[in-house]
């Protein structure tokens, strides 16, 4: 079958999709967007979290056919998504110019330099919330979604919002730090 939907603001068309394919498979294997991760493919780990019409979902549990005509935001589109929210200003977000001030220092590889990041992406780098990084895309999408509607979360709020995202490396402490940091920077940016 053919599936038409919008990914990160761009219309996409996927052909020859088998009915059993998940949204995750179509993103990763047909649209060249492997940022959403495949840690369990059974809805338990959150590494494949994307926004579907604004709501965070496990893309491994969404059949590709279900997204016909709908809007998907993945980690690859997170910076743009946060940027548009900041321009709208009603969510109290941070402008991209401000976000750039937090550009990671000491980057040792040319790859990825000069990339625009959302506040939550930058905070994950700065706070040391990334180790192997496999859980990171899903956590970023989930944390960004929480900050969108809860810009001043308590620790318990953060833990509750991210409880569907497993991380095996960090013990979550630096992830907590990163979300607190992004929230603080976001509120300073108002």
């Amino acid at each position: 079958m053919r599936v038409n939907f919008t990914v990160n603001g761009r219309p996409q068309e996927a052909d020859d999709v088998w009915e059993g394919e998940s949204l995750l498979y179509v993103l990763r294997e047909r649209l060249g967007l492997p940022g959403s991760k495949n840690a369990c493919e059974q809805g338990e780990c959150g590494s494949c979290t994307v926004r579907l019409d604004g709501l965070p979902v496990c893309s491994c549990l969404v059949a590709a056919g279900q997204v016909e005509g709908r809007e998907v935001v993945t980690v690859e589109g997170l910076a743009d998504h946060a940027g548009q929210r900041a321009c709208g200003s009603d969510a109290g977000g941070t402008s991209l110019d401000e976000a750039k001030q937090w550009q990671a220092e000491g980057a040792d590889s040319q790859a990825g330099e000069g990339v625009e990041l959302s506040p939550i992406q930058q905070a994950f780098i700065d706070a040391g919330a990334v180790q192997c990084g496999f859980c990171t895309p899903g956590l970023l999408v989930a944390a960004d979604e929480m900050l969108e509607h809860n810009p001043d979360p308590s620790d318990a709020d953060i833990r509750e919002a991210l409880s569907g995202n497993l991380c095996r490396c960090t013990g979550y402490e630096k992830i907590m730090d990163a979300v607190r940091l992004a929230a603080a920077r976001q509120s300073e940016g108002v």
Binding site: R28, E44, Q131, F134, R168
Partner: protein, 792 residues
Amino acid sequence: MPNGVPTKITQGSRTKGGIGESTLRPDGILKVTGEFAYSSDMWHEDMLWGQILRSTVAHAEIVSIDTGEALATPGVYAVMTYDDLPTEVKNYGLEIQDTPVLAHGKVRHHGEPVAIVAADHPETARRAAARIRVEYRELPVITDEASATAPEAPLVHENRTDHHIGHVPHPNIVHRQPIVRGDVAEARGRADVIVRGEYHFGMQDQAFLGPESGLAVPAEDGGVDLYVATQWLHSDLRQIAPVLGLPPEKVRMTLSGVGGAFGGREDLSMQIHACLLALRTGKPVKIVYNRFESFFGHVHRHPAKLYYEHGATREGKLTHVKCRIVLDGGAYASASPAVVGNASSLGVGPYVVDDVDIEAVALYTNNPPCGAMRGFGAVQACFAYEAQMDKVAKELGMDPVEFRQLNAMEQGTLMPTGQPVDSPAPVAELLRRVKAMPMPPERQWESSEGPDVRQLPGGLSNTTHGEGVVRGVGYAVGIKNVGFSEGFDDYSTAKVRMEVIAGEPVATVHTAMAEVGQGGVTVHAQIARTELGVGRVTIQPADTQVGSAGSTSASRQTYLTGGAVKHACELVREEVLDKGRRKFGSYHPAWATAELLLERGKVVTDAGEVLADLVDVLGDEAVELEREWRHRPTEPFDLRTGQGNGHVQYSFAAHRAVVEVDTELGLVKVVELACAQDVGKALNPLSVAGQIQGGTTQGLGIAVMEEIVVDPRTAKVKNPSFTDYLIPTILDTPTIPVDVLELADINAPYGLRGIGEAPTLSSTPAVLAAIRDATGLELNRTPVRPEHLTGT
């Protein structure tokens, strides 16, 4: 006060981004934007998907395999079984080559690979694999020590020829290591109290999030290029090339992004299967396990039965320890022999005990194969000896921390192996520090709006509002070896290049070190900046075009590959300075007389005077060299007495756990898990904290939730999914305050101590001790389940 000297750094600290700073990960931007290429993200035009058919029973003869229907499935390019293997070598293994690439006439555990399929879509491959008909004739299963060593026990491996068979009491025992020092019988006579205990440690899974995966691309020269996630490229290569019938140079391996490892990628998983299918079909083949398969696709942490006897005088001095540790190695050897070496040599913990009688064995059974996982044999022992320490303290009426401090080892203490601990061992100090941390406030869940159930046992299940909830506090401390032990030639290799690019001096570091998330790439760049005084460092992708880095295991990579990078940088620096002396020596006497350093892109004297710009010294010539670097040699343990200088370095951490237990429902909330650890030198403090917190959380997992459940009647795995095998979520994980001590080990680069594993040891027994404190129950197994607390 603890012994130890502050670390002296030869090169100055004036170059930004050097060691000791919390520089940020070079792969951080790629990882937060989704651009970082993990092994499961590999893609190639015209690639096929590989699928493995695994045994549905644990122990059986294979009567027949019919691949006809699978081969006839449209979209299928190849189906291979044992009969299709290309060469005489058909087994592989880390130490003992006992693992068949594909089952030959027999399967020895549930989930053993029997056949492989390549097809143009992963679902086609899965369905084709399901159409392979395998007829099994089931055999009795061996599941524990009693069934393994019974008089009529079938042998898991017949006709063993490995180097352990000569000293084991039964062919179903992989390896046995006794450690005997002093005279336990005599010491027992001096004991005022004797405490015995029997403990059971469950089977833990590494549960790294990035599934086993990779891409094999057949090459025109008949070889294969393999992109894969692993912990040790060269160890993989040594096992892969022979079964493909290829010389090692025709198997070119490149490390893909690794989504965690924790020991679970020491053994091969899909590597050989993908290469076989690629060579058979002439097409690139990608294999990605799903989570269900991942539970069968790698070894686990050994479950263990541990029998301990501790004696102590009335004054609180340990007289002796006698223990027996039985590790279940499962169907194949994997790393079992080395795990036995660790469990035995570290079996009494970080304490002074002159009279010891230790025995550790690993069994061959039909349970899932077990091997490396963070903590590697030391974890199981720590769980048991720390429970014993609490029991003895209780028997003596002493404070458990004071009792530990009274018996704590220090620099100069002899290990049970007779090896002196020759660098700081601040065991008592770590306990003091962790005890001195402020306690989390009582009844944190209370607020003016009523209880916040998210902070209570049971959490959002809303099972209590505080009624039946009791707090407990527990302590534990552990000792872990760093690096490969027992005489292994443990080395790493680094290639370092220095040149001018775009008017700026640049260092390039190339190693085969597997970056699995730990941050080795960050540290390598920091070392190069410190040693070469440059701002910009490029880290080359890890591959087999450079010498071996050894494994990303045993807390060893910063020590070993960090040490190799430091060593190579020092030699490059000498060459650069020689170049400078030849070019500019006649202009300034200091070139000949002063101690020269490279800092901030310049050659400077130790007094800080600038002699030349590195850009001018280097000109358009590059300085490059590749060198191996070793830690000091170790010795094997004597097979009878266990004596020998077997370890390189020791690492220590202590934990304090605060838990709240709903005693009516048996639910546990870990409120805080504080850790104090000596790291020698924190090369990157942010990463050090991350390692400690991550390791601590894996210890929490085995304390209260994680266990692979194997049916004792069938040896089949009952919970191979994240639905049924639980790892800690962010709601299960408490705050983890960390206190880092830096006492240099003068034998190690920068005085550093390997840090990754020690926190996984003491975390589990601290949580168990806290639950015992809250409930008064004995709790001699881990993980603790609700029924153990409620008695239901």
